[in-house]
Amino acid sequence: MAMTLHVDIVSAEKELFSGAAEMVSAPGEMGELGILPRHSQLLTRLKPGQVRVQLQGGEEQLFYVSGGLLEVQPHLVTILTDTAERARDLDEAAAQAAKQRAEQVIANSRGEFEYARAKAELAEAIAQLQTIEKLRKLRKSA
């Protein structure tokens, strides 16, 4: 029996492929990679392109990836694909927006976090919930 690799291809939103294969080829950042069983450990970034998985028996499956990461262990290949096009400046913009949203409203109320008040309020809310629960039980048994 030919040696096989376990291949997992996942994106953040779903699993694309999981199973045994004889060979995987992927578009590594430094060039096309062909991975056979017992490849030594490797970590690389992927370029957008095709991932080809050669299944046992010679059948081949194709996946398109828009970039991501590839990890190789001797009998395990994990491909973590990015779902969306990613750009450094896009991330930066999102981070800025998140910061601003927080700052806008808080600007004038910085200070010490009031644990006592937080606890009191939470205790109150929880007591309310418990009371409702109790009342419901009483009603049911009545």
Binding site: L43, E71, E92, A95, A98, F113, A118, A125
Partner: protein
């Protein structure tokens, strides 16, 4: 017939409330199913990247990322994931209680806290209590996208990379089943021993293409994002489940209330008829 009209209006108003809660229950139930599916779909990526990170933690890498090394803690970051809307039972309250408790423990040790809130409820809560909220996103809807978490995660990850905070915790609701959701606090970075399980037999290192530092940092960043995304999706499922249960009990309560009021109404009606009859009889007897 004093009071009968008021009782009637009251019954009517409760009935219309009941209609709303029933509708909300049904909507939440169908949304929950979808949210659960999304949660399941997001799981493989999170678990695979966890595996890779645990391999990485075992490798004798030439570059040690700060994300893998514990350091002395002077300031911690909390990412708190809550819902945008209320009417979902004690979900948020319980979460905030757990978060506050954890924060207070840090506080007593003289550790400062930075907060990053996801969802309106957490933001309102921590703002009102003067928490130091450094980043915030909300209105992500019922189907949050992966891109949605990038902003807040980047704010925290940058702070970690620059050494302004020494650990990042994630606070969210864990979906146990429809009836039960548990608040959970998880350490995101530095990667904890929990993730670094099973000791390896020999020393090895990766072949990196191109650069170890860049790759490991990228991997850790993706790891953080995927864990936060997973938590976000799970929290949505929790929200829907919790709302469904809350609305169901609200509908039930409205039902019992209506029954009781109906009884009172009938009694009042009967009493007034009896009284009228007695008056007529009494009047006839007098004549």
């Amino acid at each position: 017939m004093a009071g009968a009209k008021e009782i009637r209006t009251k019954i009517k108003s409760i009935k219309s409330t009941q209609k709303i809660t029933k509708a909300m229950e049904m909507v939440a139930a169908s949304k929950m199913r979808k949210a659960q599916e999304r949660m399941r779909a997001a799981r493989p990526y999170a678990s695979k990247i966890r595996n890779v990170i645990s391999h990485l933690a075992h490798a004798h890498t030439e570059y040690r990322s700060p994300g893998l090394v514990e350091r002395e803690i002077k300031r911690v970051g909390f990412i708190v994931i809550s819902t945008d809307r209320g009417l979902c039972g004690g979900l948020n309250t319980n979460l905030f209680k757990a978060a506050t408790l954890a924060m207070q423990q840090w506080r007593t040790r003289g550790v400062e806290i930075d907060l990053c809130t996801v969802g309106t409820k957490a933001f309102q809560f921590f703002r009102r209590l003067r928490g130091n909220v450094v980043a915030h996103v909300s209105h992500l809807g019922d189907a949050p996208r992966f891109e949605d978490v990038l902003g807040p995660v980047k704010v925290m990850a940058d702070a970690f990379a620059e050494g302004r905070i020494d650990a990042i915790y994630l606070v969210y609701n864990e979906f146990v089943n429809t009836m039960s959701q548990k608040p959970k606090i998880e350490q995101l970075v530095p990667v904890t021993a929990e993730v670094k399980d099973a000791a390896p037999a020999h020393r090895w290192d990766y072949i990196y293409e191109p650069d170890p530092k860049e790759l490991i940092e990228l991997l850790l960043r993706r790891y953080g994002e995927s864990v936060v995304y997973q938590a976000l999706v799970e929290n949505v499922a929790c929200e829907m489940a919790s709302r469904m249960v809350a609305m169901k009990s609200a509908s039930d309560n409205a039902g019992t209330l209506i029954n009781e009021l109906q009884l009172i109404y009938n009694k009042a009606r009967q009493a007034s008829i009896t009284q009228e009859l007695a008056e007529i009889v009494g009047g006839a007897a007098a004549v």
